[in-house]
Symmetry: C2
Subunit: 214 residues, 2 copies
């Protein structure tokens, strides 16, 4: 059985997974880039953007492990790009250049259907307009026995949490205060899911908490 997992999803100490005022210049909202600084300080994070160097250790290990065994990814349209409403043309192909760091099928939740986009390196973006369960069914099928990762953003993770579909929730608590933005663990959005601790460890900059569904 494919598991449905969230891995290394960064939230601030005050609970925000994105800052306020998301736009093309600030895809994670004002100050939201500070949630991801730790990633690009690791070897894994630098390789992801075509760089080299970077730290090894716990943060790097967990980022590497976060990719292991994943056969498909699901993301919200706002994570795929800044365009809202109908697609004006086929030009936007994601934030990640010609060779995105997924290397497997990626299912994008949207209300606006679009033809799949085959990228370099094994990533194909599929657009799903008939809901989160359909996206999950398609992702499980495409994963061919691998697990399905819910990549984000906040609203997408919340919808799957609320539906009781996430088996493992891995968060990276970044000890900064954003003050406002999108809060992940908001009971009005996620209901009352029942999780227990499956793993806890910290580097000198991030606390990694992994919950599993009871």
């Amino acid at each position: 059985m494919a598991r449905v997992v969230v891995r290394n999803f960064a939230v601030s100490l005050d609970g925000f997974g994105a800052g306020p005022d998301q736009n093309l210049d600030n895809p994670i909202g004002a100050g939201g880039d500070r949630l991801h600084t730790w990633i690009f300080e690791t070897r894994f994070g630098r390789q992801m953007i075509g760089g080299d160097g970077g730290s090894v250790g716990l943060d790097n290990d967990l980022l590497e492990q976060g990719d292991q065994g994943i056969g498909a990814t699901i993301m919200g349209r706002n994570m795929f790009g800044p365009i809202r409403g109908d697609w004006p043309d086929e030009a936007w192909r994601g934030w990640w250049g010609d060779n995105p760091p997924y290397h497997h099928p990626v299912f994008v939740l949207t209300h606006h259907p679009r033809q799949p986009i085959e990228m370099q390196g094994g990533t194909t973006f599929y657009f799903v307009a008939d809901g989160i369960q359909s996206a999950l069914d398609q992702a499980v099928n495409a994963a061919q026995g691998g697990d399905v990762r819910i990549g984000g953003g906040i609203s997408t993770i919340q919808q799957y949490l609320r539906a009781g579909l996430i088996d493992e929730l891995g968060l990276a608590i970044v000890p900064i205060l954003l003050g406002s933005g999108e809060r992940l663990l908001e009971s009005a959005r996620i209901g009352s899911p029942n999780y227990e601790l499956a793993g806890l460890a910290s580097s000198d900059r991030v606390a990694h908490i992994r919950l599993q569904r009871v």
Copy 2:
């Protein structure tokens, strides 16, 4: 100069420092006792309630260090007891028995003045009805060169945060979801205080994060 510190203050993964529906039977609200389970599993926590045994290690070390150098504590009236409004008599003397685990002067914020209560073991409760700055001034004076600890609860810590008076904020992130209750790091209550990371470490059950004012 006395420093003003919060130490080992427990909050849930979803940010709550107390559950909903606080009352005499549930002084930390429904489910709120789960925030403190880890404390009573340590040697320090057991000694605090007159027991023995308990774990040593990071959680125990940080609890012991949390008490070091503290010359006075400030707490809100709701942390001192469940009585609201005027004091009906002098009977309520706190939750902690005849020998409270403070062993120094404790300043209780209240709108209802009352004579000091001298307990066994060095703890004296003073009741301060003229505001948080007055309580801090009295506590700094009473601490005789020691630091002043803001003990809680949520509202009291928030008032001192908002006033920019807390030098060090030490939180214990307990990886449970309470769903509702009193949220500590709520910008509407604390403003936009400017802190940086001063320490991060985790046991297998609690992530300890220490911030200091920039």
